[in-house]
C-alpha cells in the first residue's frame, strides 16, 4: 500500500517514457501522444534526448492537459521506465502517489521501488519472447506493447490508436496488422491481469479544435517556402538540421515545376557555416530570397559575414534554433542564449533585427515575414527559435496564407526606373527612412551598376576613407534601424484584470509556461501585466510598458539575462526596475518555476497587499 493516496486525475497529468535511444521507442511514444490528441485532449510532448545515436538514455514526456497548458509542467505522474541505466533517477522523479509502469519479466528487489508510488508490472520481455523470435521485432514491438498496456490503464480510445496506425502504414497492410496485434497483446494482458483504469485516465473531449500538431522547425521551413525562399545554404548542426531537412521535403512536394519536373529551389549543404552565410549573402545580393538554418556555434562562425551584410546592406534570413552554450555546451538542450550574439553580431558597431516566435504557428508567420523584412530593410533578419519549439511537436493554431499577399521586395530600382532618369545612389537616403535603393546585377546595360564592398564608401558606393561620409553612413544605418521598429511584429500586451505596479516581460518558447504561470500567480492574489516581446529593435510599447510599472520581471532561458540587458541598453532603463527570472539548466522553463520565482521576488519586494494598491 502506498503511503500516499494514488493520484487521481482525468485529462490532466504527465506521462514520461524513459527509453534507450536507438531502440525504436520514438515512434511508439509519438503514437501515444497523437492518440490522446485524437481523443480531443490537448497534449504537449517533449523529447529529452542525448547528443548520441544509439545506447544513451532518452526521455519522452507527454503532458496531457485538458485546460490546454502546453508548457513543461515538471514532475511525472506516470513513469514508463524502460531504461535500466536511469532507473533510480526515474523512480525518484515520480510524484508521490504517482505510478510506475515497468517490465516485470525479471523480479526486481523491493529496494528498487518506492513505497509512496503505485507500481504496475507488465512482463513485456516475456510477452515479446513468447510472441516473436526475431530480436529486432522483439525490440520494436515491445514499445507498441507498452502503448497497448497504457491504453487499458488510462482508458484510451483504442479505436483512435488503431486509426493512427492505419494512417501511418497506409498501403502496408502487413505492417498495420503486426502493429495492431502488438497493441492488443499489451492491452489484453493489462485488461486481464491489472485493475484498469488506474487513477489517471482519459475522457474524450473536444478541446483540440482545429489546431494542428507540428514541430517548429517544420513550420518555420514551411514559412520559408511560402515566403518565397529559393536558395537555402546550411551546415548540419543540432537542433537546426531538421529545419533544412523539412525545407527540402516541403520543396520536393510543393516547389517542383509540374511540367518540366525541374526545381524552383536550390539547397546546398555547405562545407561550414561560413560558406552557408556567404552563399545566402551572394544569392540575396543577386536578388533571390535566401536563408540559412543554424544554431549558436554557427552564428559565432558567421560573425564576419554578418558585419558585411549589415554594412553593405544585403538581405539575409537566419533561423537560429538555439541550444545551450557556450561552446558545444548541451547540444540537445534548449536555451534562449543567443540574444546577444545575434543582436550585436560582428565587429564594429552593428545591430540586427531579431524575431521571437512563441510557437510553430508564429515560426511559420515570422518565417515568411522575415523575407519581406530582409528585402525591405536590406539587412540580416534572425528568426530566433530554440530546441523546445523547433524539435518538439506543438499544438498550435492552423497555418494561414492569404492568396492575395504580395512579397515586399523592398526598394529595388528596375531598368525602367533607371531609363526614366531616376537618380541612383546605392547608399542615398531618398525617402528619409534610412533605406536606400538597390539594383540587381544585370539590370541595365549602362546604368545602376555599383561595387558592393565591406569598406567604407560614400552615398554613391564610391570607396572612401573620409570621416564625414563614413559617419553619415553609420548615422543612416541607425535611422534604418529606427524604421525597423515599426515594421517588425509588435509586442503583445495583456493586462491583469486589476491595477498592478508589477509587470512581466517574456518571449519565445517561454510563452506557454508564462501563460500558465500567470494564473498561478494571480491565484495568490498578485496580478501581473504581461508583455510578450516579439522582435528587436524594441517597439515604443516596450519602454512604455516598463514606464507603466514600478518593477518588471523579465523571464528568460539563459544565465545572463540577455534580453533584459538589451532592454536596459537600448531603451535606457534603470536596471533596478527589471528583475531577471532566469532558467538555464537546459530543460524547458516551467510554469511552476516561474510562479515560484516571481512569488519569492514579490515577497522580497514586500508587496503591498493588493487592496491598498488601488488608486
Amino acid at each position: 500500500m502506498p503511503a500516499k493516496a494514488p493520484i487521481s486525475s482525468v485529462n490532466d497529468f504527465v506521462v514520461r517514457f524513459a527509453n534507450v535511444n536507438g531502440s525504436g521507442s520514438a515512434s511508439a511514444n509519438e503514437l501515444f501522444a497523437r492518440s490522446v490528441l485524437r481523443m480531443g485532449i490537448p497534449v504537449a510532448p517533449r523529447n529529452i534526448f542525448p547528443s548520441n545515436i544509439q545506447g544513451l538514455p532518452t526521455w519522452y514526456e507527454v503532458r496531457i492537459s485538458e485546460a490546454g497548458h502546453l508548457g513543461a509542467r515538471g514532475g511525472t505522474d506516470l513513469m514508463v521506465a524502460m531504461n535500466p541505466q536511469t532507473w533510480d533517477k526515474d523512480i525518484a522523479s515520480i510524484e508521490p502517489g504517482g505510478y510506475l509502469l515497468y517490465d516485470s519479466t525479471k523480479p526486481m528487489p523491493s529496494a528498487k521501488f518506492r513505497d509512496d508510488i503505485n507500481v504496475i508490472g507488465v512482463p513485456l520481455t516475456a510477452i515479446c519472447n513468447r510472441e516473436y523470435t526475431d530480436p529486432r521485432q522483439r525490440q520494436l514491438f515491445k514499445n507498441i506493447i507498452y502503448v497497448g498496456a497504457l491504453s487499458a490503464l488510462i482508458d484510451m480510445d483504442v479505436g483512435a490508436i488503431e486509426k493512427l496506425i492505419s494512417e501511418q502504414f497506409k498501403g502496408k497492410e502487413k505492417l498495420f496488422d503486426a502493429n495492431k496485434h502488438a497493441l492488443h497483446l499489451g492491452r489484453d494482458w493489462a485488461l486481464m491481469n491489472l485493475e484498469c483504469p488506474i487513477g489517471l485516465r482519459l475522457e474524450a473531449t473536444d478541446k483540440v479544435g482545429d489546431r494542428i500538431f507540428i514541430e517548429g522547425n517544420s513550420a518555420a521551413a514551411l514559412g520559408a517556402v511560402y515566403g518565397g525562399a529559393t536558395v537555402c545554404a546550411w551546415y548540419p548542426i543540432t537542433p537546426s538540421s531538421s529545419l533544412a531537412d523539412a525545407f527540402t521535403g516541403h520543396c520536393r512536394r510543393l516547389r517542383v515545376d509540374p511540367e518540366t519536373k525541374q526545381n524552383k529551389f536550390a539547397i546546398v549543404q555547405a562545407e561550414d557555416e561560413l560558406a552557408s552565410i556567404g552563399m545566402v549573402i551572394g544569392a540575396a545580393w543577386n536578388g533571390a530570397r535566401a536563408f540559412t538554418a543554424t544554431s549558436g556555434p554557427g552564428i559565432s562562425l558567421m560573425q564576419e559575414f554578418l558585419g558585411l551584410a549589415y554594412f553593405a546592406e544585403i538581405p539575409a534570413v537566419l533561423f537560429d534554433v538555439q541550444r545551450a552554450g557556450p561552446s558545444t555546451g548541451m547540444p540537445t538542450r534548449t536555451q534562449q542564449c543567443d540574444v546577444f550574439s545575434c543582436a550585436y553580431a560582428s565587429h564594429g558597431d552593428t545591430k540586427h533585427v531579431l524575431l521571437f516566435p512563441e510557437d510553430p504557428a508564429e515560426a511559420f508567420e515570422f518565417g515568411a515575414q522575415a523575407f519581406d523584412l530582409a528585402d525591405r530593410l536590406q539587412t540580416p533578419i534572425f528568426v530566433m527559435l530554440d530546441l523546445d519549439i523547433g524539435m518538439n511537436h506543438r499544438l498550435c493554431r492552423p497555418l494561414k496564407w492569404d492568396d492575395n499577399r504580395k512579397y515586399d521586395r523592398g526598394k529595388v530600382m528596375t531598368a525602367a526606373d533607371l531609363d526614366a532618369g531616376k537618380e541612383f545612389g546605392r547608399y542615398l537616403d531618398v525617402d528619409g527612412d534610412g533605406i536606400p535603393y538597390r539594383t540587381y546585377p544585370g539590370t541595365h546595360p549602362s546604368k545602376g551598376a555599383f561595387f558592393t564592398r565591406g569598406t567604407s564608401r560614400d552615398r554613391y558606393a564610391r570607396y572612401t576613407e573620409e570621416g564625414a561620409p563614413y559617419a553619415d553612413n553609420m548615422q543612416r544605418l541607425l535611422r534604418k534601424f529606427e524604421t525597423a521598429k515599426n515594421l517588425v511584429p509588435r509586442p503583445i500586451r495583456k493586462d491583469a484584470g486589476k491595477p498592478t505596479k508589477y509587470g512581466v516581460i517574456y518571449y519565445g518558447s517561454t510563452s506557454p509556461a508564462m501563460n500558465e504561470a500567470i494564473h498561478m500567480i494571480e491565484a495568490k492574489g498578485r496580478p501581473l501585466d504581461m508583455l510578450r516581446i516579439r522582435a528587436f529593435p524594441f517597439h515604443q510599447d516596450v519602454p512604455d510598458f516598463i514606464a507603466d510599472h514600478d518593477y518588471v520581471f523579465v523571464v528568460e532561458q539563459n544565465r545572463d539575462a540577455q534580453l533584459r540587458s538589451l532592454i536596459v541598453n537600448e531603451c535606457g532603463i534603470d536596471p533596478v526596475r527589471l528583475i531577471p527570472i532566469l532558467h538555464y539548466d537546459g530543460t524547458p522553463i516551467t510554469a511552476r518555476f516561474i510562479a515560484r520565482e516571481i512569488a519569492d521576488d514579490l515577497e522580497a519586494l514586500k508587496v503591498t497587499p493588493l487592496r491598498k494598491v488601488v488608486s
Binding site: 483540440v208 482545429d210 489546431r211 494542428i212 500538431f213 517556402v225 511560402y226 518565397g228 529559393t230 536558395v231 510543393l254 516547389r255 515545376d257 518540366t260 519536373k261 525541374q262 526545381n263 524552383k264 529551389f265 536550390a266 546546398v268 555547405a270 562545407e271 561550414d272 561560413l274 560558406a275 552557408s276 552565410i277 556567404g278 552563399m279 545566402v280 549573402i281 551572394g282 544569392a283 540575396a284 543577386n286 536578388g287 533571390a288 535566401a290 564576419e304 559575414f305 558585411l308 497555418l399 494561414k400 496564407w401 492568396d403 499577399r405 504580395k406 540587381y440 546585377p441 544585370g442 549602362s446 551598376a449 555599383f450 561595387f451 558592393t452 564592398r453 565591406g454 564610391r462 570607396y463
Partner: protein, 351 residues
C-alpha cells in the same frame, strides 16, 4: 586612385566588337595597384577577352575576396555589378549569386592568400561542386597589402624580400583543382597576354568550374633574386604545354595549322578551342596524366603553363540540382507560394 575619374573620351577610330562596344566599354576605374603590378596585366587580359567575346558587360558579375588581387574587379567592366566580399570567401558568395541567377557570367577574382590560405576550404568546395564560374587566382606568392609575408603558394626555399627563406611546402592550386574535379584547369603568366587572353575566353565559355592560376609577380615585394615568382624566374622556367586559340561557334577556323600540331576541342555552345601543342605528348583531357606531368616538371623547377585539363562534357551545379531554366531571382509569389489551398491540406495532415 579610384576617385580620380577616368576620361570617357573615345577615339572615333577605336575598333568595335560585334555588339558595337570598344575596349573602353570593358574598362573599369583607374588601378590603384603599384606601377608594373602583374595584376594589372591580368585585368588587361580580362578586358581583352570580354571585348573579343563581345560579352554584354552588365551580364557579368565580378566577385572577389580581400587583397590586392581582390581589388582588381573595380578596374574592369565598369558596367558590371561587383562584389568585394570577405577575405577568402569569394567562392561561397559567388556560389550563392550563381544559384540566384544562372544566366550571368561569373568572374571570381582571388589571390594566393585569399585562395590558398584563408580561403582554401571554400576554393576546394566550389571546385568540387562544379559552380559555373571563372576562378582566377592572381598568384604572386606573397601578401602585398600587409607588406610582403609569404603566402601558401610560395615555393619551399624561395626567399622573401627581407631575405627570409620559406621552409613550408607550397600549395599547388592547379594540382588541387585537378584532384577536386574542376572541369577546366589552366595555368598562365600575367606577362604572357598571348597565352592568357584565349585561356580567359575559353574559361568564360566553359560551362563548369574553371580555374586559371595566373602567376602574377608582385613588383613591390616578390620580384627579387631568390624569388620563384619574379618576372625573370617565371620567364626562365615557363614550360608551356600548349597555346590556345579560341574560336566562337559561328566562326569557321581560318588559320592554317600544321597538321598534327593542333587539337580542336568543341565546346557545348559550339565554340572551339584550338590547342596548339607545344609538348607533343601532353593530353589535356587526362587529369591523372596532367598531375604526373606537373609533378615531374615541378621537380625540375619548371612552371607548367597552358590549358592543362578540360572536360569535354562538363556539368555544373545547376544541372546537379535540376533547377529550372528561369533564374531563381525572377520568380515571384505566383511561382513560389504554394497557396492557401495547399496549406489547408497540410493543416489537415497535421491533425
Amino acid at each position: 586612385m579610384t576617385y580620380i575619374t577616368k576620361p570617357k573620351f573615345h577615339h572615333p577610330a577605336l575598333p568595335k566588337n560585334t555588339l558595337g562596344y570598344t575596349h573602353r566599354d570593358y574598362e573599369g576605374k583607374i588601378s590603384t595597384l603599384c606601377a608594373g603590378c602583374g595584376h594589372d596585366s591580368i585585368t588587361a587580359s580580362i578586358i581583352e577577352a570580354c571585348f573579343e567575346l563581345a560579352i554584354e558587360p552588365h551580364l557579368v558579375a565580378k566577385i572577389s575576396g580581400i587583397g590586392c588581387s581582390s581589388k582588381t574587379p573595380d578596374y574592369f567592366l565598369n558596367a558590371s555589378h561587383g562584389f568585394n566580399s570577405v577575405h577568402g570567401r569569394m567562392p561561397s558568395v559567388l556560389t550563392g549569386a550563381n544559384l540566384a541567377n544562372r544566366d550571368l557570367i561569373y568572374l571570381g577574382v582571388s589571390g594566393d592568400g585569399d585562395t590558398a590560405s584563408i580561403g582554401l576550404g571554400q576554393f576546394c568546395h566550389a571546385m568540387r561542386r562544379g559552380v559555373n564560374m571563372v576562378y582566377i587566382v592572381e598568384n604572386n606568392g606573397v601578401y602585398g597589402l600587409t607588406k610582403g609575408q609569404f603566402s601558401a603558394t610560395a615555393d619551399r626555399g624561395s626567399k622573401s624580400k627581407r631575405g627570409a627563406v620559406n621552409t613550408d611546402a607550397h600549395i599547388d592550386l592547379v594540382a588541387m583543382a585537378l584532384q577536386l574535379g574542376a572541369t577546366f584547369v589552366a595555368r598562365s603568366f600575367s606577362g604572357d597576354k598571348e597565352q592568357l587572353v584565349p585561356i580567359v575566353k575559353a574559361a568564360i565559355e566553359h560551362k563548369g568550374a574553371a580555374l586559371i592560376d595566373v602567376i602574377s609577380p608582385c613588383v613591390a615585394f616578390n620580384n627579387h633574386a631568390g624569388s620563384t615568382k619574379s618576372f625573370d624566374y617565371v620567364r626562365e622556367h615557363n614550360e608551356a604545354v600548349n597555346r590556345l586559340d579560341f574560336i566562337t561557334g559561328r566562326s569557321p577556323i581560318t588559320v592554317a595549322y600544321e597538321p598534327g600540331s593542333v587539337e580542336v576541342v568543341e565546346q557545348h555552345d559550339g565554340s572551339k578551342l584550338v590547342l596548339k601543342k607545344v609538348a607533343a605528348d601532353y593530353d589535356a583531357h587526362d587529369p591523372a596524366g596532367a598531375m604526373a606531368f606537373l609533378q615531374h616538371h615541378a621537380a625540375k623547377g619548371q612552371i607548367v603553363t597552358g590549358l592543362l585539363y578540360v572536360d569535354r562534357e562538363p556539368e555544373d551545379l545547376h544541372e546537379h540540382f535540376n533547377t529550372i531554366k528561369a533564374p531563381l531571382n525572377t520568380l515571384t509569389e505566383k511561382e513560389l507560394s504554394p497557396g492557401s489551398a495547399a496549406l489547408e491540406k497540410i493543416n489537415a495532415s497535421l491533425r
